[in-house]
């Protein structure tokens, strides 16, 4: 078999691979490179998307539909999105890509010892290392996908989401640029608990804190705002839990009993009001937060999952990391010398005249 052109193991990627594999995949590669636990998987190149568009002859159709979009005209956006989506979904994934996907999926199966391992298929848009924050929620992810054919279809569904109404509207607003995207295919983490952590307090801007939001099940419930998650503020310096607010968590996402996809269910009564993280889990999360921050050299917003029936720290996986944006600028005191500051404390700061 010839060397794969369209897929590559996540562990072989780094920050420089963003143009070829998209932001998310290269970010996951960078995390792995920094020794941060990430579920194994592979990346699908932006070239695969281009090959798909080219071989199916969709270029003209897409350009024509987009030319009819007027920024601010919702109907024009929806109708273009619909037409492009229809056309893409009825076009085949090129054989070469399909074979490579199947091979990479088989390798993952072999690696995990599971014949048809469930995977998450996520969009990996063009952009710097994961800094596609503005795309958050505009591009799709498909969870609990099993079998090579389903993986290929999910990859195509991700491509389609590049022309979803929000994405078209966004690009109409900021300029179209190049339309291409990569895809990340990762072994599914059967999350008992999942959530988000910030490597600083996003509200106060305190860099010595890690803020954690967590709820039962897969991360959809937290990211989608469907539950009020448990909320922790933990000192990065001492590991002390400075704030702990446990909320009633009504729903969670779990794998569908049929083995494909995720379903929303009610959280059993006895777990609803219980804290979903203990001190050990928080400690492990703080450690992960510190490492991610160090690896990227800036405050990060990290999605994570704690695998069911896996012990810490092996059960903890990072799913995504992006820089924290829009942090409140901390207003430093006017005077910068220690003596000037002490003088101000006594109401004897520097005065003019």
């Amino acid at each position: 078999m010839s060397e794969a052109r369209h897929t590559r193991p996540l562990s072989a990627l780094g920050r420089g691979d963003s143009p070829a594999f998209g932001g998310k995949s290269s970010m996951l590669g960078a995390l792995i490179e920094a020794g941060i636990p990430v579920a194994p998987g592979f990346a699908v190149s932006t070239g695969a998307f281009r090959a798909f568009v080219r071989e199916a002859g969709l270029g003209g159709k897409i350009a024509a539909e987009l030319s009819r979009v007027f920024p601010g005209d919702v109907d024009s956006v929806v109708s273009a999105s619909h037409a492009i989506g229809e056309a893409m979904r009825s076009a085949p994934v090129p054989d070469v890509v399909r074979h490579e996907l199947a091979a990479a999926y088989a390798a993952l199966a072999e690696q995990t010892g599971t014949p048809e391992p469930p995977v998450a298929v996520r969009s990996s848009a063009l952009g710097e290392d994961g800094e596609d924050a503005t795309f958050a929620g505009q591009l799709e992810s498909y969870l609990w996908v099993r079998g090579a054919d389903h993986v290929a279809n999910a990859v195509r569904d991700c491509w389609v989401s590049l022309f979803g109404p929000p994405a078209i509207a966004y690009r109409a607003h900021v300029g179209q640029g190049e339309q291409a995207m990569g895809v990340a295919v990762q072994l599914m983490v059967d999350a008992e608990v999942s959530g988000v952590l910030f490597t600083c307090n996003p509200v106060s801007g305190d860099p010595s804190m890690v803020a954690v939001n967590a709820s039962w099940g897969l991360g959809l419930a937290v990211v989608g705002g469907e539950v009020t998650p448990d909320d922790f503020l933990v000192s990065k310096v001492t590991g002390e839990v400075v704030r702990e607010r446990v909320h009633v968590k009504e729903v969670e996402y779990v794998p569908d009993a049929g083995g494909r996809g995720a379903v929303r269910v009610d959280v059993p009564e006895e777990r609803r009001a219980a804290a979903c993280l203990d001190r050990r889990a928080l400690e492990a999360l703080v450690e992960i937060g510190r490492r991610v921050e160090r690896a990227f050299g800036a405050h990060q917003d990290v999605e994570w999952a704690l695998a069911r029936e896996r012990d810490l720290p092996d059960g903890l996986f990072v799913l995504q990391s992006r820089p924290v944006t829009g942090l409140r600028e901390r207003q430093g005191p006017a005077s910068d010398t220690a003596m000037g500051l002490v003088m101000s404390m006594f109401g004897a700061g520097e005065r003019k005249g």
């Binding site: 106060s204 860099p207 010595s208 310096v237 901390r330 910068d336 500051l341 109401g347």
Partner: protein
Amino acid sequence: METAAPVGSFPSPYEVGTPPGCEGWEELYPYYALFDEERREADEKRFWFWNSMHFPLPMPAFDAICIDTAYQALGTWQNRVFAVPPAMGIDYRCINGYIYISGNPVTDPAKIGERVQHFQRRAGYYFEHWDELYAAWRTKMETLIAELEALEVPQLHELEPDDVAFADQETSFCAVLDAYRRALRLADVMWQHHFEFLLLGYGAYVTFTELCKTHLPDIPDQHIAQMVAGLDVLLFRPDAELRRLARLALDTEVDGAFVEGRTPEQIESELGGSEPGRKWLAELEAVKHPWFHMATGDGLYHYYGSWLDDPTIPYASLTGHIAALRAGEDIERPSDHIATERERLAGEYGALLDDEARKGFDELLALSRTVFPYVEEHKFLCDYWFLTTWWNKIRDFGALLAQHGFLEDREDVFQLSRLEVYSALDELLLTWATGGQPRGPTYWPPIVASRKELLARLADWTPPPAVGAVPEAILDPALIMLWGVTTQRVHAWAQADEDGSSLSGTPASPGVVEGPARVVRNVSELGDVRDGEILVCSITSPAWAPIFSKIQAAVTDIGGVMSHAAIVCREYALPAVVGTGRATSQIRTGQRIRVDGSAGSVTLLE
């Protein structure tokens, strides 16, 4: 500056009633110490809070010297020496024997501007020469204490000594009054020394705290204190010496004498019966001076003697340490760990800041560490060593008066004001010289008796945390630094629901525990504290060390993160919430409470 409109209210100082049977309490205090009708218009508009940190009990007439002289000294240094720009000194008033204080602000911008110049010049000089000035200060204090210790109260004999007749020695009249005047003068000087560095010391520390909170808004106060805290401060020496003596007792196999429940006399008598025991006692003697000059309480009252006066506390501590050693426990203060943790915290927090903030952080941390020895050590030298010795000198004057029938007991001297004592001595010396019949023996004892009864009744009254107007903001650096009284804290007091089931205060030492409360309003109640209880008090003292090994947590009415309860709790790794305003009045002994030392909350569970 941002200020919230004040919500809630405090009672007017003029509407606070006199508890039944306490009528006439006013006569114990100077005329200027009362809320009088003449100053009503101004005084009602001011914010006054109960200084339960220093005066948790109704003031005996003599002890009121610690109010006048201390606020005189505070005002001198803050207002007349350093000219702190926005604040002059502290006024006080007395209600039912309890002391309420209020700051005097400087409001004229032109005047503030002038004071800025003076403050920068003078305070700048102190900060610049801190180490040498502080070394000189230590010498001054030690000299002062030596002078106090050497002070003798002359006795009155049937005849003046020969030296008066043949060697021009001064007469007893002059000698007694001079000794009394010198005793008062030494206290005046001590209080002046006490406040010389206090504001600047706390000021540097509070500035560092503010800087930390600006750049690290969620940093727990205790981490700031841990970064600054001294490693080898005088205050921890007495207990360190006890630990050493405990080990010595085991090493020389005299530990059998230390049985829980024995009195110090019983222990010493058994030790005196053997050679190794006598050696151990000799070692103890060597430690006593100065380390047993710890006070048994933190308030400025004659009630609080030193470990020398009442060795119950150090012996209980020794017995506890010995039992722990026998059980194989490590009783060392983990100073290596404290040192490592202090540097680790400073390094990690510093590394989180950008270069500019880092510079201020490093400089202020260094300055805070420079001033910190004073902040901790003045307590031992002034409040403990000097004051406990000084109260004993006053007792000697009491003994002189008692010897001549002016008082029934030397302790009764504390029921007279310092001017009344002067007056009684005057009359004693007059009638001793003339041979006439003194009026004192029939005049003073009934006054003493009625005042003792009054103080006992006043002790049962619960003072409101504050009276007068709710201020829009607290801007006085002294109130913020020394009492931890901030705008936020005062507004919380004003809104507090007296029947509420929770209290909030300053989180001073982390951790959460539940347990039965033990409300201690007087040092004499310390013996009631049982294992596993949560100490609830106005304020604690490091001299209470032995009970900190019994309790699970501490809650105080007043104090900030630098208060001694906070420092000791961090030392003992116990949760603490300080500055709750009304813990001792809202919590009752035996009640189950939950203390969250990280959040600063106390929940009444029943």
